[in-house]
Assembly symmetry: none
Homo-oligomer: 218 residues x 2
C-alpha cells in the first residue's frame, strides 16, 4: 500500500513467459504478476514442448517454467531454451521442494527455483533475477542445506543446540513413538513431552514431528 516509490529508475516492465500445464494456474499467475504493471506476460503455454518455440518467438526477460508437466518436463524445456540462448533467464516454479529437481535445475543454469504458492514474493524474486542473482524459495532451503551438508559430511543440523532431554525426545520421535509412548518411556507427563517438542521445533526451525524424524535420519 504505502510502498509506492518505484525504487530503481528502471521503468521498463520485466517481460516473462509462463509455461504450466494447468490453465488456471497460468491465468492466476498472469493476473497477479501483471497487477502492478511492473511485469508483462508476453506469452503463455500449457505445453512444455512449446516452451522453446515460445521463448524464441517472444524473447522474454525471464521464462517461468513449471517443473512438473505431463509430456515435456520443465527441465527438458529449459534445456532446449538454454541451448538456443545460454544467457536466457530460466526460473522454475514448483509446488513443493524436491531436491532432486533443484540440483538438476541449478546444474542446467537456472536462475531461480521458486514456490508457486507464495505468489506475493514472486515479483521481488523476479526483480532479483533481473539484477543477476539466483533466487530459491525458502521451502527449498532445507533441502539444499541438507544436500550441501551431505556433500560435505554429517553435519547434524539437528543436534546443534538441543539439550540432553530434547535430544532424547528427538530420538524417540525418530523411532516413531507418539507423545503418550514417549511420556511412558521417559517417565514424564505428556505435556512435558510436548513442551520439549515445541522447543526442538523452534530451535531447529522445523514445523512438525515428522520433519524432526526426517532431520534425524537425514
Amino acid at each position: 500500500m504505502s510502498a509506492n516509490a518505484n525504487r530503481t529508475g528502471n521503468a521498463h516492465a520485466i517481460t516473462v513467459i509462463i509455461v504450466d500445464d494447468d490453465p488456471p494456474i497460468v491465468q492466476s499467475l498472469r493476473t497477479i504478476l501483471e497487477a502492478r504493471g511492473t511485469v508483462q506476460v508476453v506469452g503463455t503455454s500449457t505445453e512444455g514442448s512449446a516452451a522453446a518455440d515460445l521463448y524464441a518467438a517472444s524473447r522474454p526477460d525471464i521464462a517461468l517454467l513449471d517443473i512438473r508437466m505431463p509430456h515435456t518436463s520443465g527441465l527438458a524445456a529449459a534445456e532446449r531454451i538454454l541451448g538456443g540462448d545460454p544467457n536466457a533467464r530460466v526460473v522454475f516454479l514448483t509446488t513443493f521442494a524436491d531436491d532432486d529437481y533443484i540440483v538438476r535445475a541449478l546444474a542446467l543454469g537456472a536462475r531461480g527455483y521458486l514456490i508457486k504458492q507464495d505468489v506475493a514474493t514472486l515479483e521481488g524474486a523476479l526483480r532479483a533475477v533481473m539484477d543477476g542473482q539466483i533466487v530459491m524459495g525458502a521451502e527449498v532451503s532445507g533441502r539444499v542445506g541438507a544436500l550441501a551438508g551431505r556433500s560435505l559430511e554429517g553435519g547434524s543440523a539437528l543436534a546443534g543446540s538441543l539439550t540432553e532431554r530434547e535430544r532424547e525426545v528427538a530420538e524417540l520421535i525418530a523411532e516413531g513413538l507418539d507423545n503418550r509412548e514417549m511420556a511412558a518411556a521417559l517417565y514424564l507427563s505428556e505435556g512435558t513431552v510436548r513442551n520439549h517438542i515445541s522447543a526442538i521445533l523452534q530451535k531447529c526451525g522445523l514445523r512438525n514431528r515428522t520433519q524432526i524424524a526426517i532431520a534425524w535420519w537425514r
Copy 2:
C-alpha cells in the same frame, strides 16, 4: 506459506548488521544501503568474533557477514548466530566467487551468498531474503550445480503394494509436507490426501505419518 512470519517486525525498513574486517567497506556498505531509507544499519563490527554478540544485542532482520575475515571467519560467526537463533537470516558477502565456501554456507543455513561488488543489486536481494527467498550471486551458481552427486536413491522399504498415487503421497510425507501442502502439490483435495494416507498406514501396518517418513528413509 512460510512458517517464519514470526517476529519479522513489520515492514518497510529492513534492519541489518554488517560485519566486515575492512572498515572502508563497512562504511561504504552502510552509506549505500541507507541511501534510500529502506534499509537501516543497526550495528557494525570489524571483528568476526563480535558478530554473535552484536546480533544478539540488536536482533536485526538480516546479518551481513564478510566470509573472509582474519581471526573469526564469517562461517564461524554464522554458526554462532544460527546456534542462538536458527531462524536468523544470515547473508554472506564475498569479494568474488569463492565457491569453496558456498557449500558450507548453504549447509549452515545461510539465506544469501552475494557479491560485494555489485552493490546496486544488494537492496533488492535483501528484500527477497526478507520475503523468505534464498539469494545467490550469479557468479556462484556453477558450484552449486556441481553438487549434483547422488540424490538419486528413493526409498522403497515401504511395502510394495502401494498404488502409484500412494507412493507419491508417501514420498511427500518423507519430504516433510503436511496435508495441505501435499494437496496443493498434487492438485488434490486435502480429504483425498488423507484417504491415501489412511490406505498407506493400513497397508504397511504403520500408525502415523512420522512412521511413514521413517520407513521411507529406512
